[in-house]
């Protein structure tokens, strides 16, 4: 009951940039373990919280059902990079710590995940117990003309889903993927978010420049300061956040204890995972999630 009251108070006070609401959704574990840090899942740029919890399935319920105290965060719509690292993520981590105390484990993905890593090296220093990073690029380059075109036109991912951009979305997120039927049918309409022109432009310029511009220490300096354990999951067929741009973490963050897991068919997986299928693919609960669970267990 006390926990519920605290959460209600948190929800009431939890407003994002420019008054737009953020979302912080706790998932109660089926069997509360009372052990281990809370797990905060943060979607990548352009994704909503559904990437972790789509109609009751996904990594968030998977972890919750195994006793982890799981929170899914969705930043305020349109929050720019500086707001993400300086206000949104600290607010989310702070809110979870209010309830749970102690540092949290963050689960992050893609370019937004790279920003979360950068925050872990500066704003969130000392507040993070570990990070699970799904294809988080440290080298920011335009991966292909498709993403460039989408960002150039304003990054309206949610709007693209219903129009001519459907093929582009398919290529970016699910080319060659095996998705659950409900995900294939409904995720693009429910789980994608329009970036808004300013954020799309900022993302594109960062890809063209080679790194995001952040307040305080540079992106590279922030990454170098990350000193917590990191599980780096690399999906071979990710077209938005190429695994090869993420793979430099061991050199760029020498103080982080990085565990790498490459996922592709030759490594025994059922498919070569994409940006979407690595979290919502039909085989992800068998191929991907056990790596996350095992690594989290190692933190306990």
């Amino acid at each position: 009951m006390i926990r519920l009251l605290v959460l209600l108070c948190l929800a009431a006070a939890f407003n994002g940039a420019h008054g737009a609401p953020r979302a912080l959704v706790p998932l109660s574990p089926a069997v509360p373990s009372g052990r281990g840090p809370a797990v905060l899942l943060v979607p990548g740029l352009g994704f909503g919280r559904e990437i972790y919890d789509f109609h009751g399935q996904g990594l968030a319920p998977h972890l919750a059902s195994r006793g982890w105290d799981v929170w899914v965060f969705e930043p305020a719509p349109g929050a720019n990079f500086a707001e993400l690292v300086g206000r949104e993520l600290p607010a989310a981590v702070g809110a979870v710590r209010e309830v749970r105390g102690g540092p949290v484990v963050m689960v992050v993905q893609g370019h937004g995940g790279a920003l979360a890593l950068a925050a872990a090296g500066h704003e969130l220093s000392g507040q993070v117990a570990g990070i699970v990073a799904f294809n988080t690029p440290l080298e920011w380059e335009l991966p292909n003309p498709v993403l460039g075109g989408v960002l150039e036109r304003g990054g309206d991912l949610g709007s693209l889903a219903g129009g001519e951009g459907r093929a582009e979305l398919q290529l970016l997120y699910a080319h060659g993927a095996t998705l659950r039927p409900d995900v294939a049918a409904h995720f693009s309409a429910e789980g994608l978010r329009d970036l808004g022109r300013p954020l799309a432009r900022e993302w594109l310029e960062a890809l063209q420049r080679g790194a995001p511009v952040l307040p305080g220490p540079s992106f590279r300096e922030r990454i170098a300061r990350v000193d917590v354990p990191v599980l780096q999951v690399l999906a071979l067929r990710d077209v938005v956040a190429h695994p090869e741009y993420a793979s430099a973490l061991r050199e760029r963050a020498p103080r982080a204890r990085v565990t790498v897991r490459e996922l592709d068919r030759f490594q025994g997986c059922a498919e070569d995972y994409t940006h979407l299928s690595v979290l919502l693919g039909g085989h992800a609960p068998k191929d991907v999630f056990p790596h996350v669970v095992a690594w989290l267990e190692s933190l306990r």
């Binding site: 690399l234 071979l236 067929r237 090869e244 741009y245 490459e262 030759f266």
Partner: protein, 354 residues
Amino acid sequence: MNARAQVLVSVLLAMASTGCATPWMVPRAPGFTEVRALTRDGYSLALARRRPAGAPTGRPVLLVHGISANDRNMDLHEGLSLAEWFAGRGREAWSLSLRGTGASQRREGREPYAFDAFWREDLPAAIARVRAETGADKVDVVAHSLGGMALYAYLSQGGEGVGAAVTLGSPTRLDFGGTVTRLLPLLRPVFPPRGGTIPVVLPAQVFMPFHGQSERDPFLLLVANPENVPATTWKRLVANGLADAESEVVLQVANLLEFGRFASADGKTDFRADMARIRVPILVVAGKLDRLGSPLAARDGYRALGGPKAWRLYGVETGTRADYGHMDLLIGQHAEREVWPDLLDFLRRHGDSV
């Protein structure tokens, strides 16, 4: 198994391999001559030389294959030959068979050799031979997989005579937490046997009828994307383009898998660290679905290079019809249009005027 059974199994295997592979053995395109190069340690290497059609348009190009392969990877048959393609565009093409492969000399009782022999002995001998035969001051190099690793090692240790280069699916580390990486420490005490030769050709040819019959064919899955490499092409490559592997070569390369270490066999020379000294322009190429020299593994080499350098990934997202696998870059059915022109373009942009 008693001696009689061993003989019987051997005969059956030999018959099966010969019979299974024969229909897929194809001649290379006409118009080549074989030239030999002698290494300082006494190995005679085979080079297939293709003169340019018309006046030369740039430096000669030395083509170097990968592990457990031979020069036919670069020159499979008429109409599917990177060597023939370069020659048709005014570039004299030389396809090298590294020691122990193709028509190059086998070890035959000599001391075992490791990967180091390829960059320390074979590449210098081949480059010198091409320069001597053509009068060119420098040669361009297009190297696939382990061939690209040999080139990196050669250049990182001050190797000379290379004008510009392309590496295709060439890894400089492979320790990305995959199943193979995690199993390797368990296998290392027993595999591969020290000082031996690992048979690749015979097993591959025995299973010839089954190659390419399923998209789950583990051999094909590892090295090619069936959307790019039809079963017929794949079988031709197996019949003509494979070679057995020396244990010490595999052991040295296994260091990339287990420890992420791209170094000499004695561990004293760190090629990856020394790659920062390379100033030869290199285009680093990766296939999106390459599971051997994966984009992860090839990009590591790109990062290590001193530059000038360029990076190119081939997959549907960049406009190709299918995502490229490891061998697709050489024998993919659309590589001639989708990949090879970019290689030539890079070499041209970094070439001397002729």
